[in-house]
């Protein structure tokens, strides 16, 4: 997804709005692109930056060939600044650096662009600093904030940006694409529920770790149903050794979440939406074991565990608490 026409096929509205404002030379001083993973936030900001700098534009389409375009692509353009989270968050120092950068004149041109990825990860300090020069942009500066959760961004920042909501992708498309690449239909369905990115999805699909993870999640639900007293043991012997990293743990919880969602779907007879299509027997058993109320409770508990993980709670503790709640 590199050109405006590529983007227009996925995000027709955003592409149209941006190309029009480029054509009328009314590019806003700050944009907030919000959309889930894989909706093309980064691709859009890249193409927009290129369109701003490229000197050989064909209409609004940058040439992708010239020095400027290529250096934006490789991250070496001196007047395009990428801010990516340093560890868990975007720190004050990173914004400070940006601020200093903007008191200087541009290195090659008078035009400057800064792009903040995962903008919701800015610390409170960083957001307030950013606000300062988002408010008083120097001439010819364009800010682009990328986020998957615009509600987590300071209201004061949001109000100063032109918000571009990107359309969520249709998982069916991805599923089809994955099946064409040779994944089994059940896997394709599951993975397209987890990610929107084709390359990432294929990577997951060919990963043994993921196949095992899927098995362990299903096992856990069985243990919870049949032998709840052994659930703790299962967590420590099977679950924790497999989901070592925080990132992996999140993925495991995502799978668990999908499982309970499936139970809800089978309650409401929405069989088409079920994701674990290979495990229909187990699902119908599960729907006999869990009541509707219990399932929705479980969903909430899982979301809470996910949130705790993000807030640096010890993974083992978060997981233990979750199982205690689930087996009741």
């Amino acid at each position: 997804m590199k050109t405006w026409s590529d983007i227009a096929s996925i995000q027709p509205l955003a592409a149209r709005m941006l190309t029009n404002s480029l054509a009328k030379q009314r590019v806003s001083h700050a944009y907030l692109f919000q959309g889930n993973r894989g909706t093309g936030k980064k691709a859009i900001s890249m193409v927009l930056a290129k369109s701003i700098f490229c000197r050989h534009k064909n209409g609004q389409e940058p040439c992708h060939q010239c020095k400027d375009c290529q250096r934006i692509e490789s991250g070496n353009h001196p007047d395009v600044h990428w801010i990516i989270p340093d560890g868990q968050s975007i720190k004050k120092e990173q914004i400070l650096h940006l601020q200093k950068e903007f008191t200087y004149t541009g290195l090659e041109s008078n035009q400057k662009v800064y792009i903040i990825e995962d903008a919701e990860k800015m610390t409170a300090n960083a957001s307030n600093r950013l606000l300062k020069f988002l408010e008083e942009p120097s001439k010819q500066t364009t800010a682009m904030l990328l986020t998957s959760n615009s509600q987590a961004i300071l209201q004061t920042i949001r109000s100063r940006c032109q918000i571009m909501a990107l359309k969520p992708l249709n998982p069916a498309n991805l599923q089809k694409q994955l099946q064409e690449e040779g994944l089994s239909s059940s896997n394709a369905r599951l993975i397209s529920a987890l990610t929107n990115n084709v390359t990432e999805a294929l990577e997951i699909g060919h990963d043994d770790w993921f196949a095992n993870a899927r098995k362990i999640v299903v096992q856990l639900t069985e243990v919870l149903q049949s032998k709840p007293e052994e659930a703790m043991l299962f967590i420590h012997n099977q679950w924790m050794p497999h989901f070592k990293e925080r990132q992996q743990m999140q993925r495991g919880l995502d799978l668990l979440l999908l499982w309970f969602k499936d139970i809800v779907y089978s309650f409401v007879d929405n069989e088409d939406a079920v994701i674990f299509i290979n495990e229909k027997d187990k699902l119908s058993q599960a729907s006999l074991h869990w009541s509707k109320q219990e399932t929705t409770d479980a969903l909430q508990r899982i979301l809470e565990a996910k949130r705790k993980l993000e807030q640096n709670v010890h993974p083992a503790l978060a997981m233990e608490q979750l199982t205690l709640h689930l087996k009741r």
């Binding site: 020095k67 290529q70 250096r71 490789s74 991250g75 070496n76 353009h77 001196p78 600044h81 990428w82 650096h97 601020q99 200093k100 903007f102 008191t103 200087y104 004149t105 541009g106 290195l107 090659e108 041109s109 008078n110 120097s138």
Partner: protein, 380 residues
């Protein structure tokens, strides 16, 4: 790209450009040094995006051949390894060759290094010279200009524009002005006729860049060419180009700050006054701006005193050449005063006061080029 070069010359140039390379940069390509082989010789470039230094090694100079077998081309080499490699090579000559896949081979005597280079296309393009906007100065005069003003730039980022030195051409004079809003340092020199049609009017050069430039330049009578482009300023000596980005924004109008009349004028020997203020500042507390007090007395005596109740106090009388006008008691920061007196660069100074609550001016006697202005401190 290929060339054979004298190692010492290369080392010298590499050391120059390394001063601009910083390991903490957000732009990956700037961790490298750009090596460019052209018909005339070899050009090295280093940059941290704020300042960029280019060093040129000519093919031959004064009959001495520095570079041979040039095949044109350019490549970016890792600044982390290249300088050390060059320093430790065994022979006097170095052969550097880059192939189409950006693999660089460095040969000297029996040793052979292979380095992975980066594409020179990725390197920032430095602006081309606009020679019509340039003027020349002797290098030591420029060093003086920097030394006499740059200490007064602001170190806090609350008003970023004040972290720079304002360079201005007005009525055939070149002005350097720096202020941190508590003090102001300025120097003004006449430009030669040949330089009088310079076009730019006012730019602000970051103080940090000027300090760096001052370190690199050797004091000599040779002239240095200064060119100003839209967003950069270039200082150019024979083989060394120093580029700095400018600060964006309007520099505050400072001419109105300088009082035109004065009520008390003190003439004094610079050194004696400086030393006595230095002594008085020993007891002045840093947390309270090193405040010292100056009081005019009869018989052309000036009393310098400082008092911090917990520590003790100091009083000293200095004989001035002359004191004209009203009596005066004034307090000011010893540090600012000492900086200003050091910058005056003359054995005699003239200090013009306009009351205890008004800024005062320090100038060398009979010379209007240097001006230092300090705001007093209010004490009760």
């Amino acid at each position: 790209m290929k060339f054979v070069i004298q190692r010492d010359e290369l080392m010298n140039s590499v050391q120059h450009v390394m001063k601009a390379v910083s390991s903490r940069t957000t732009i990956p390509i700037l961790t490298g040094i750009k090596v460019e082989a052209g018909e005339e010789g070899i050009k090295l470039t280093g940059s941290d995006s704020d300042i960029s230094i280019e060093s040129f090694i000519p093919k031959e100079e004064d009959g001495i051949v520095y570079v041979e077998q040039i095949e044109q081309g350019s490549v970016v080499l890792q600044a982390k390894y290249f300088p050390d490699i060059v320093r430790k090579l065994p022979e006097k000559t170095v052969e550097i060759e880059a192939d189409n896949h950006l693999k660089v081979t460095i040969r000297s005597g029996g040793s052979e290094f292979h380095l992975n280079g980066q594409d020179a296309q990725e390197y920032p393009q430095l602006p081309q010279l606009h020679t019509e906007d340039s003027f020349e100065l002797p290098t030591d005069l420029l060093k003086n200009l920097i030394k006499q003003t740059v200490f007064a730039v602001s170190t806090v980022e609350t008003r970023p524009i004040l972290t720079g030195v304002n360079m201005k051409v007005e009525e055939g004079h070149l002005n350097f002005i720096a202020t941190d809003s508590h003090r102001l340092a300025s120097r003004r020199i006449p430009l030669e006729e040949a330089n009088s049609q310079v076009k730019f009017s006012s730019v602000v050069i970051p103080g940090k860049s000027l300090i760096e430039l001052n370190k690199i330049l050797e004091g000599s009578e040779d002239s240095i060419q200064i060119s100003v482009t839209e967003n950069q300023v270039l200082f150019r000596t024979k083989h060394l180009y120093f580029l700095s980005r400018l600060l964006d924004g309007n520099y505050p109008e400072t001419s109105r700050l300088i009082p035109e009349q004065s009520k008390t004028v003190v003439h004094s020997a610079t050194k004696e006054l400086l030393q006595s203020i230095d002594r008085a500042s020993l007891l002045a507390k840093e947390s309270k701006n090193n405040v010292v007090r100056l009081m005019t007395k009869e018989n052309n005596q000036v009393e310098i005193s400082s008092n911090s109740p917990e520590v003790g106090n100091v009083t000293e009388e200095v004989a001035a050449q002359s004191i004209d006008g009203e009596e005066l008691k004034i307090s000011f920061s010893a540090k600012y005063m000492m900086d200003a007196l050091k910058a005056v660069d003359n054995e005699q100074v003239r200090i013009e006061f306009t009351g205890a609550m008004r800024p005062f001016i320090i100038r060398p006697i009979d010379d209007d080029q240097i001006l230092q202005l300090i705001l007093p401190v209010r004490t009760y």
